[in-house]
Amino acid sequence: MKLRLLLSASLFAFTAALAPRAALAEVSPLDLVQPIADYKIYVSENAEKLVADTKAFTDAVKAGDVDKAKALFGSTRMSYEAIEPIAELFSDLDGSIDSRADDHENSEKDPEFTGFHRIEYGLFAENSAKDLAPFADQLMADVTELNKRIKDLTLPPEKVVGGAATLMEEVAATKISGEEDRYSHTDLWDFKGNFDGSRKIFDLVRPLIEKDESAFVTKVSSNFDAVETTLAKYKTADGYELYDKLTDDDRKVLAAAVNTLAEDLSTLRGKLGLN
């Protein structure tokens, strides 16, 4: 009798809270074929764009044109950030392309520290393209290899759908603080890439759950909209304001939206019947 008392009290508390619904929509694996195929096209297009943009960026670095390289840094990364859940499937390349100084024991001086952020460090912290040519060559080779591997890749559905939440987890855990692009402060460009990539996945599978999960779909959409609205305040002619321009209030709004999206999108796989 005491046990029943405890159980009923606890069930009340959880149903009253904003817990996700336990009943799952009926989604057949076949329904996912078209969204996954469409996503493959999205990833391929972004990978192609990454190769082209990185070419222009690394050319500027190698030519010693610091100003031009700096100007291209933020936009070049966006296509990578948009497809990060897929790019990260190749952990060797991800480490080489996108690791940060604190991923390495000796920080900036560590010989393993390469890729975008090593070049960012040279350009923005040291204001020089000197000694960056080898890093530029390797970055170009890495993104070319990434593009090739993506072409041959069969996208695992759970990775694709899970990627929507993964992107938000990345922002929530390591980006909202402004530590990703710590030398250039172009974090808002990265955010935009991450949000676009996450929303793309959500939009592709949205028709499959729209009917059974309309409250969920509305909530996620409105949180994506809140992010878009906040980011739009910082749009400039050729990109975004630097991260230190972000007001404390807007940072809180973004942090809450990102965490809520991460929480809600963590149920997307399950709602689509994926393990």
Binding site: L6, S10, A17, L18, L24, V253, T260, G270
Partner: protein, 436 residues
């Protein structure tokens, strides 16, 4: 349920009624593991055993729990920025918090979802959440009112943003906040479980700003049933002069906002909460002669007694010691509490925890006191006492680095109520009281 709750308020040692039920639920759930248990095989990784996991504090009452509740071994302050802006959003925040706090303090079995979905509970306390003497205490900072125009006229009269005192070196990332939760229980794990539950359930309303955990050293029960104050990381007993929380009339005077206070009516039953993260330079302290330590504090280290007494509860008589020959005039306890007729007006109820955070860049221990105190009048209470302490010799060994001033809301009266309801009603936002 209500009668049981009433019983729980009066005697916290009688809260063990859940033991049998939870125990059998556990046994039923373990199935095959029972065979192993029968052999009494012991592993080094076996969970430490406690008979206190079913201790339970009542969530409902005119005051929130966790203030005059006896301090358990583990405590935490978590400070949040609050995203809820409109009256209905704030109502959702208060209601959801109250629902979660009620569940976590009572304990029970969280629901289970389809395996394809993330579980609603972190599971770190197992499939049946034990109450473990948990209390969760909700307080609001000055900025909560300042950033919501509709609440501004209803701000508690003395609630302000904490300003740095003379010896403070405040770290922005460890200060202030729209809201605090004081979470305390028998174990750090229970506190962490509660915090993770809050974060998971309200990501759109709350952003965690800072948190500090702490602990209190436990003592064996004394044969005569008497109690001693716990020691802080300076090795001294802390709390000897605390007012007796069992005396309701005294608490009404010192701790609670009442109808006699010149505070908004909605605030009655609430109290001001002060949080201070006070780093102790323990290496240096440990290299200070014992006699000097005792003169700085004003008590004997071993017993906690004042110099003219034999136990920590003896009250020093400063009227017989005007020159400070027995207790130095600048001793911590003498500056903090002059023990004359007037100083009773400045009494506060302290409920601190010791904290230990790692190592400073200079290789010294980052340790100190998570100071928490409650008072009916912030100015006459903590602020006055701290001003009296400004410049004390102890400052050489301590450095306040964080914290803030908050107002602890009145308690939720019963199951139709929620924490913060009286504030919303005072602001003209009508709420429905239904038994959920």
């Amino acid at each position: 349920m209500t009668t049981e709750n009433k019983g729980l308020i009066t005697n916290r040692r009688n809260v063990l009624f859940g033991v049998g039920a939870a125990g059998s639920a556990l046994a039923a759930g373990l199935g095959s593991a029972i065979a192993a248990a029968d052999t009494h095989e012991e592993q080094v990784t076996d969970a430490p055993v406690s008979d206190k996991t079913q201790e339970r504090q009542a969530f409902y009452g005119i005051h929130q729990a966790g203030i005059i509740t006896p301090r358990p071994a583990a405590g935490m302050i978590a400070s949040f920025d609050v995203l809820a802006k409109t009256p209905s959003e704030v109502e959702r925040l208060f209601r959801t918090l109250s629902e979660r706090m009620a569940f976590l303090m009572k304990g029970g079995t969280p629901p289970t979802f389809d395996d394809k979905l993330p579980a609603p509970d972190s599971g770190i306390l197992g499939p049946v959440v034990p109450p473990d003497n948990l209390t969760m205490t909700l307080s609001l900072g000055s900025s909560f009112f300042d950033h919501r125009e509709w609440l501004l006229p209803h701000k508690p009269a003395r609630l302000s943003r904490m300003k740095a005192f003379r010896n403070d070196a405040l770290v922005a990332d460890l200060c202030h906040g729209d809201m605090t939760l004081q979470i305390s229980s028998n174990t750090p794990d229970t506190n962490i479980h509660a915090l993770r539950d809050i974060i998971k359930n309200m990501p759109d309303l709350l952003v965690l700003r800072w948190k500090q955990e702490g602990s209190v050293p436990v003592q064996p029960p004394k044969p005569d049933g008497s109690h001693e104050s716990a020691r802080n990381f300076l090795g001294f007993r802390d709390g000897s002069a605390n007012p007796d929380a069992n005396q309701a009339a005294l608490m009404d005077k010192i701790v609670w906002v009442t109808e006699k206070s010149d505070e908004p009516a909605w605030a009655r039953g609430g109290t001001y909460q002060v949080v201070r993260i006070i780093r102790n330079f323990v290496e240096r302290w440990d290299r200070t002669p014992l006699g000097e330590q005792e003169r700085i504090i004003g008590r004997k280290k071993a017993t906690g007694a004042p110099f003219a007494g034999s136990t920590e509860h003896d009250v020093p008589d400063y009227s017989k010691d005007p020159e400070g020959t027995v207790t130095p005039l600048d001793a911590h306890i003498r500056l903090a509490n002059k023990r004359n007729g007037g100083s009773d007006a400045n009494l506060i109820l302290r409920r601190p925890f010791n904290y230990s955070n790692g190592v400073s860049k200079s290789g010294q221990l980052e340790q100190g006191l998570l100071f928490i105190c409650y008072q009916a009048d912030l100015e006459r209470g903590f602020v006055t006492v701290q001003r009296q302490l400004d410049g004390e010799p102890l400052e050489e060994y301590i450095k306040p680095i964080g914290g803030g001033f908050f107002f602890t809301l009145p308690g939720p009266l019963d199951e139709t109520d929620f924490v913060g309801r009286t504030l919303l009603e005072a602001a003209g936002h009508s709420v429905t009281r239904i038994k959920s």
